[in-house]
Symmetry: C2
Subunit: 152 residues, 2 copies
């Protein structure tokens, strides 16, 4: 199995970061504006990605597997790109001085393919967006996300 | 072994991207301004990272293992952080329409630790810097690099 892992530090409380990861308004502020669903453990969230023209370029469902306030958010993808089905995204939070350190992982890819490399880059830009959102109030969620290549 | 992989698309020729990866002036434009050494195959490059105060916060040597013009740049680290020794960085380039696609990999980490996750994020920001440098002439090399956490 292959994992994407990133570490980012947000100059804010773990509680602020946790809110951005565990509410639809929060996720809509850094990942995609089109975030809907049930944010409770066992609930399903839907995230949709639109081109600037408004055309849908992607949609995924994820189950909320675990929520530990100010510590852990764990999602498992149940629909979306084939490569994402049954993969897990986990955010582990820990305060360290002025920062909350976010250990991000997108785990259990079947193989490391070009799409994995694309997603690793995109997740990094969304981690910068999460940091911006919590620190300044303004993130870069889709469709205003940072474009990295010819796939988005 | 653990690999960091990223995919980025640069709106420029493979030749322009290759120049940014295979010359000291190029590398100084996107990774660190403090880049010196012998850019030929078998040569050694030294890269140093300074805090904005001017204090050195890191230094690495890498051997140029392979250079295929407009296709491949392959480095192997010979000094620097323990975790980097004997790891490989490879850039594979391929033109696709208006883009040159860069497949970046930092291969052969002994384990996936928090420092690996930090480096994965930092490499992603340096890939954005490479893209900016080649597309606009202005990258974000150290010490003007994007800061991501409490380690830099």
């Amino acid at each position: 199995m292959v994992d994407i892992i990133h570490r980012v530090g947000v100059r804010a409380s773990a509680s602020s970061v946790y809110t951005a990861l565990s509410t639809t308004d929060g996720i809509a502020g850094w990942w995609t504006k089109e975030t809907t669903g049930d944010t409770r453990i066992g609930g399903t969230l839907n995230v949709r990605f639109l081109a600037e023209s408004g055309q849908e370029i992607g949609s995924m469902n994820m189950e909320i597997v675990e929520l530990i306030p100010d510590k852990t958010v764990h999602w498992r993808f149940t629909s979306g790109p084939d490569e994402w089905i049954d993969t897990d995204v986990v955010f582990d939070l820990a305060e360290d001085g002025d920062y909350t350190i976010v250990l991000f992982s997108h785990k259990n890819w079947r193989e490391a393919i070009e799409f994995t490399a694309h997603c690793s880059m995109k997740w990094a830009t969304f981690m910068l967006s999460l940091k911006d959102l919590v620190e300044t109030g303004i993130g870069k969620p889709s469709p205003t996300d940072i474009k990295i290549d010819n796939w988005n």
